[in-house]
Symmetry: C2
Subunit: 231 residues, 2 copies
């Protein structure tokens, strides 16, 4: 095939081939700049709000020229959308692993809830700054809200599916409604403690959050006689 | 006294008295315009986000001229600050009543938690739009965050004080840490269901939220053998 097509190569095709050869390297550099810029925003969000961060700070942190930023990203809002897409993809991948049903086939509901509780705390802690910025934007912009709704539905579906796989251990009641409320309690508690803990008085100790979340999920989903924990 | 001061009234004092007579009426009209403008924002927030609402919409809803708005309020952000101050004052007054210890002296912890749960749902429902706008702003602006921190501390103090007055009914553990976590679980659940319910799949039935909140608080704070509810 290569020899059959070769005689037809003219000047235009040759140019395309040459730019084709060059493009991957340029695209790769460009892609790396974008990655570094997104990474820089993610890092800055650990200590500042999105409002407080300037484009020039992001560029300095990323080690890219401001011109590169405007070329590759456009503006600050577009950068937050890049970060959102990256963070959401990371969360979905991690949830798929953490809530894979195969992990829990041999466990009882209360053992499973203990593992889930601690892993959920860790997932929030690891992305605290980015999640703060994305939640705020999801509550201001309709486009972000639509993405948030989609992610929320996917997360609730995956987490509650694992819990429902142990519904034989549940207290009496509508199992679908029980897991929905349990999930929203967990999500709300994690947000107020791990994500927005600085807006509440007192210290937020992550081990404590994990243990309390486990206790809450266990006592909410299991019958009183089975929920008794060791504390 | 009135007759003793009368002879001293000169032209300037007379002018002051006259403007003094006029001022109350003008001030009252002005105060009423401001109240109507704040009220209008509050109403519009039931169906729209703060970002989506324009000054001219607020004025139309309030029945005031746009000029009056700029005279009395200044700008949209200043209006949100007025609404925040009003909503916070209302919340504190309502919490002071709802969590007055005298209400609960003859009740057991589980009865008290049932009443608290339902009243907390209602307090959130009644101010849903305003709370949405204020939460978003508290997470963007340092000034709003400082106010939110102050309110959060006051609310947590009042609510947990009532729960701690029944600490004899608690499960074993550090009572201060137990009520802090219970309060944050309740706050988080109420926010995700009543305030931001539209970002999650499924219907949010307020009666269900109240019953689930009661169950969660009861099973989280009481020993397993005492927590058993009727469902």
């Amino acid at each position: 095939m290569a020899s059959a097509s070769k005689p037809q190569i003219g000047v235009e095709t040759e140019t395309l081939r040459r730019t084709g050869k060059l493009r991957p390297a340029r695209q790769l550099r460009s892609q790396r700049s974008l990655e570094r810029i997104i990474e820089a925003l993610d890092e800055l969000l650990e200590t500042k709000t999105f409002e407080e961060i300037t484009v020039s700070e992001v560029c300095k942190q990323a080690g890219v020229a401001v011109g590169t930023f405007y070329d590759r990203v456009g503006n600050k809002d577009a950068l937050l959308e890049h970060l959102r897409a990256r963070v959401y993809a990371g969360i979905v991948a991690q949830i798929d692993q953490a809530f894979a049903r195969e992990r829990f086939v041999d466990l009882e509901l209360r053992e499973l809830l203990g593992i889930n509780a601690r892993e959920m705390v860790e997932m929030h802690r690891a992305r605290r700054g980015a999640i703060r910025a994305i939640i705020v934007e999801a509550r201001r912009s309709a486009a972000f809200a639509a993405h948030a709704r989609e992610l929320n539905a996917a997360l609730m579906q995956r987490v509650t599916a694992v819990w429902l796989s142990k519904r034989a251990d549940f207290r009496p009641g509508n199992a679908q409604l029980l897991v929905r409320s349990a999930f929203l309690m967990a999500a709300g508690f994690l947000r107020e403690t791990v994500i927005w803990g600085d807006l509440w008085p007192g210290e937020t100790n992550p081990d404590r959050v994990g243990a309390d979340l486990e206790h809450m999920l266990t006592t909410f989903l299991l019958p009183a006689e089975d929920a008794g924990l060791s504390d």
